[in-house]
């Protein structure tokens, strides 16, 4: 599904190249649940952003579902966002002016899903995440954990094949974090959604089935998690 070959990323500063990623080569298959780990500043977020096509690598090739991403048109990329990729952020990034319901609805509107279908999907998600009662509240009326649930519900609404999550539990207490991790695991196992998350917590990483250890922009270790 994802194929990275010799990905490099650097920032030029006063003529000096500061490498963030060096010769990253890896393949992630459909149905995997990958955790990216490493010290702060190692380049984890950068790698995830490259995978999510939010940033471009300075060098290297990247194939997403068999297509070369570097030669992808803007339009094509947006199509991928609409149909295949769901993002979950550490800071939730819900739209403040929209209610919970509307936040979840937004990607469906972009995808041009019919209104009946939309209503049933949203009802389903609200129900599944136990936030039916909150559907008319605005994000600033929710707790952090609740906001992140909405964030995940929003990512799932368009029924993506892959979820990219950058420290999704970074701002949450461990109880809430566990809830979200088991949710990810369930999605991965029951619905076959590919998940790639960045995390600092060894415990969270155990929910997945593969860990990429990164340090100084280099993949140091690529280990499978034994369950």
């Amino acid at each position: 599904m994802i194929q990275l070959t010799n990905i490099e990323k650097y920032y030029a500063n006063k003529g000096v190249k500061n490498y963030v990623l060096r010769l990253v080569t890896t393949t992630i298959n459909q149905g995997e649940f990958v955790s990216i780990m490493g010290p702060s500043g190692a380049g984890k977020s950068t790698l995830l952003n490259i995978i999510g096509m939010l940033e471009e690598p300075t060098y290297g090739t990247y194939h997403f579902m068999g297509e070369d991403v570097t030669s992808l048109s803007e339009r094509k990329r947006i199509e991928l966002y609409r149909n295949h990729i769901g993002f979950v952020f550490q800071a939730y990034h819900l739209i403040d002016e929209m209610t919970v319901y509307e936040n979840i609805e937004a990607p469906l509107l972009y995808k041009k899903v019919g209104s009946a279908e939309r209503a049933s999907r949203i009802a389903d998600l609200l129900d599944r995440f136990n936030i039916v009662a909150k559907k008319d509240l605005f994000p600033n009326q929710l707790s952090g954990g609740q906001q992140q649930l909405v964030g995940i519900a929003r990512a799932l609404a368009a029924q993506p094949s892959i979820i990219l999550a950058d420290e999704p539990t970074g701002n949450l207490q461990s109880a809430q974090a566990e809830e979200i991790m088991s949710l990810f695991k369930k999605l991965n196992e029951e619905e076959g959604i590919t998940i790639i998350q960045v995390t600092h917590s060894e415990k969270n990483a155990q929910y997945g089935n593969r860990i990429l250890h990164i340090a100084d922009g280099v993949v140091k270790e690529d280990v499978a998690v034994l369950s």
Binding site: I78, E79, Y81, F87, A91, H93, I95, E97, M98, L109
Partner: protein
């Protein structure tokens, strides 16, 4: 999606109520000024467009130098009446020609049976062909027959209603008395025409056919000047028509010069040339013979109102982009959810449309409220809803609206939709410097306009004060003008009334400035002076100041024959020590008469201060010139002259029962002269107030946003120990630089504009420095106050709140 976007737009507006209100209010102000202008322009453009047939009507203009304000040749609306006959005979392109007498005086007296006479303005005397040329619609009577007979009159429906209370007036008669001791004509109403719905360049309430216009003066040397209009049958080639006109005119001139024993070459020298042309009726109003046309007069105002609109659009853009910081996250998130850039641009355009629609509604309300005042100011009748051209005005409005919305919405939409999701989602959008430079430039631009306005107001105020306090050269107190000719009997009667000091007449006085060229020969040199004829004690009546020699007096017999008084301007042209000197003047028979200068007086003003006092020679005639000077000056020796005027009116009624008594005090004549300038000044003040408040609104909102955006920085600084004052200063500094820059730029701009305005006055102040200083101080103080209010609010807030929130 559309519905959701609308909802978001609404929630955003609501969240930022104050700024939304400022935004919408500002735009509404700008739009209002612009739409008022639009209405005015439409009004001016609608002149003489009440019938499609008018495209075949032409005004004849002759080039000559009679009755001109500067004694130079102009293409004039009044032509030698003989020309009408010549056109009828020898220019076949024109199938009908009519002569319309100029209106003089303050209207004519209309006496219906034994009722008191009333003054009616706009009774034009024409020949019988008037309605062959102008396609007025007859409610009663017919165009073909109405004016056939002499002593007939056709009146407009509105006048019929005013005079008789009904428009069924066919066959009724009234007496028309045109001046005080006119025996009058009894006119029979032979037609009633509908009032037209557009302004007309020949304004009239009635057209009479007394018969006076049916023939030209008998003597070849004397001529009668009238307006001449001609009509063609269908479209004609005006170029060739004008060629024929020019040709027959030159022939006519040659013939009449031969009869008068004049040499063609002698008359047309020094750049003078004969000229006759026809201009289409629709070109009459835009091309007045002497003054600037309305478009040129209006240009500065059009410029200003466009400026105001631009300023309000700038505010709009400024606020929208400043606000966009708050929207950055929304954009970033939507982008990763799969929104096209196009969709985002559309969303933000819809938002600005929403605001500009509100502004539009608000401005329509404002226009309704302001129109009466505007009409009063410009002395016109504009209306929005009852406008003949409502449809086209609405179209123009829609066009303006679309342009405004696009101008105001596009830039912010573009800025917003361009946010890069990564940096936004990383959380550093808050410090994004995008658009800062542009916003600063826009703030500077607004302040340039405002400061320029304030300087202009200052200078205009000083100039106005100067001219309204200027010594007129005569004493306008306790002096009235009866607007009638001099009659010895009447003058003697009112001289006997206690309180009356002088009674006299002159051909020229403030409020009735009639310039008459007079060529003299002094020491072999030809000099053109302005000639004024007065009665013996007219100069005393005016209270002019003597510089040397003496004024006219009864004791000197020669004063009624060949004594003259010069004003300083004339004396300056001729030489030093003019008293006692003599000069020659050729009379109409070719004889040279010698005149002696007996006195020199200080210049005194008859016209506005835009015009220099002409070099003038004053000459006594026993009757004060002709009987129709239309000025009868009365000076009182008491301040309470109201009762004296009543007594004069009593005498008047006994002598002239058919003509109403009218007078104008010299104070009023003077205010009338100042009026135009005052109007212009009022308008500038109005526009400045709008412009300055728009700029301040903009600055206020912008500083709020900046303060808000820097909330966290301010909180941190406070925790680190900054005082409130230091924080207010911090915010002020960035804006102060902008305002100071704007001041520096506007000084030279204002200098050029104000200097140009002052140059329009023959009598003006030296360009003062202090309006410049004052405007800079005012703008800086106001800016600092505005920013400080906002900054203080942020500064005194609890720092915890800001820090906790993050």
């Amino acid at each position: 999606m559309f519905k959701l976007n609308l909802k978001i737009a609404w929630r955003n507006l609501w969240k930022n109520k104050v700024y939304a209100a400022i935004n919408i209010g500002g735009l509404a102000l700008g739009l209002t000024a612009f739409v008022l202008m639009l209405l005015y322009i439409n009004y001016e453009k609608s002149y003489d467009s009440w019938s499609p047939e008018l495209k075949n009507v032409y005004q004849i203009r002759e080039k000559h130098d009679f009755f001109t304000p500067d004694n130079k040749e102009h293409w004039q609306e009044i032509s030698n009446s003989r020309i009408a006959g010549i056109i009828k005979e020898s220019v076949p392109q024109f199938t009908a020609v009519t002569k319309i007498d100029q209106e003089w005086g303050n209207g004519f007296s209309v006496k219906i049976d034994h009722a008191d006479p009333v003054m009616v303005k706009g009774i034009k005397d024409a020949d019988s062909a008037f309605f062959n040329v102008f396609p007025y619609q007859f409610i009663q009577g017919t165009a073909a027959n109405a004016l056939k007979e002499p002593n007939t009159v056709v009146i407009k429906q509105s006048l019929a209603n005013k005079l008789y209370g009904t428009d069924h007036v066919l066959g009724k008669e009234f007496k028309l008395v045109r001046w005080r001791d006119d025996t009058g004509n009894s006119l029979k109403i032979t037609g009633v025409i509908a009032d037209v719905n557009t302004p007309e360049s020949i304004q009239f309430n009635a057209v009479s056919h007394t018969g006076d216009q049916d023939h030209d003066p008998d003597q070849i040397g004397s001529s009668h000047y009238t307006q001449i209009y001609a009509k063609s049958e269908g479209d004609i080639d005006t170029l060739s028509a004008n060629k024929s006109l020019q040709k027959v005119y030159v022939d006519f001139k040659k013939k009449s010069f031969a009869a008068e024993k004049l040499n063609f070459k002698d008359v047309y020298k020094d750049g003078k040339s004969p000229g006759l042309k026809a201009i289409s009726l629709k070109d009459v109003h835009p091309n007045p013979p002497f003054s600037l046309n309305w478009l040129d007069k209006l240009k500065p105002v059009i410029g200003i109102s466009i400026f105001l609109l631009v300023v309000s659009i700038i505010n709009f853009i400024n606020l929208a982009t400043a606000q966009s910081v708050q929207r950055a996250k929304e954009v970033g998130v939507k982008k990763v959810l799969g929104a096209y850039k196009k969709q985002l641009i559309l969303q933000f355009l819809i938002e600005s449309t929403l605001q500009s629609i509100s502004a539009l509604f608000l401005s329509v309300i404002l226009i309704e409220i302001l129109l009466p005042a505007f009409n009063h100011q410009f002395n016109i009748t504009l209306s929005f809803w009852h406008n003949e051209y409502l449809f086209s005005i609405v179209l123009q409005l829609i066009a303006v609206f679309i342009v405004v919305t696009l101008l105001a919405g596009c830039y912010p939409a573009w800025i917003l939709s361009n946010y890069n999701p990564v940096s936004v989602l990383k959380g550093n959008y808050g410090n994004s410097l995008k658009g800062i430079t542009l916003r600063n430039v826009l703030v500077i631009f607004q302040f340039i306009i405002s400061v320029t306005f304030i300087i202009a107001i200052g200078v205009m105020h000083l100039q106005t004060k100067y001219i309204s306090g200027k010594d007129l050269g005569f004493d306008r107190d306790k002096l009235i003008n009866l607007r009638t000719g001099y009659d010895q009997n009447f003058a003697d009667k009112i001289r006997r009334i206690p309180g009356v000091q002088y009674v006299s007449t002159t051909t020229q006085v403030m409020g009735n400035a009639f310039n008459n060229k007079s060529k003299i020969i002094y020491k072999g040199r030809e000099v053109n002076l302005n000639g004024v004829t007065v009665t013996m004690d007219a100069l005393q009546t005016l209270g002019v100041k003597l510089v040397s020699g003496r004024l006219f007096a009864k004791e000197y017999v020669q004063d009624t024959i060949n004594s003259v008084v010069l004003n300083e301007a004339a004396a300056g042209l001729l030489g030093k020590n003019m008293v006692g000197q003599t000069y020659g003047k050729v009379d109409y028979q070719g004889k040279t008469i010698t005149f002696q200068v007996v006195g020199v007086i200080k210049n005194y003003h008859n016209e506005g201060f835009d015009k220099a006092v002409l070099p003038t020679v004053y000459k006594v005639s026993h009757l004060g010139g002709t009987s129709n000077t239309n000025n009868l000056l009365v000076r009182f020796d008491t301040k309470n002259y109201k009762g004296v005027i009543n007594k004069i009116e009593g005498e008047w009624k006994k002598l002239y029962p058919d003509f109403p008594f009218q007078y104008q005090s010299m104070d009023d004549a003077f205010s009338e002269i100042l009026e135009e300038n005052k109007r212009f000044m009022n308008m500038v003040v109005l526009f400045s107030v709008v412009s300055v408040s728009l700029s301040l609104l903009g600055l206020f909102a912008l500083s709020t946003f900046v303060a808000k955006r820097r909330t966290k920085e301010i909180a941190v600084r406070k925790v680190l120990g900054a005082s409130n004052f230091q924080i207010v200063n911090l915010l002020n500094k960035s804006f102060l630089i902008l305002v100071v820059t704007a001041n520096l730029i506007s000084w030279p701009i204002a200098y050029i504009l104000v200097k140009k305005w002052l140059e329009g006055f023959a009598y003006r102040i030296d360009l003062p420095l202090y309006p410049f200083l004052l405007s800079s101080i005012i703008s800086i103080v106001i800016a600092v106050l505005t920013v400080s209010i906002q900054a203080r609010k942020t500064a005194i807030a609890e720092p915890v709140a800001a820090l906790k929130y993050e």
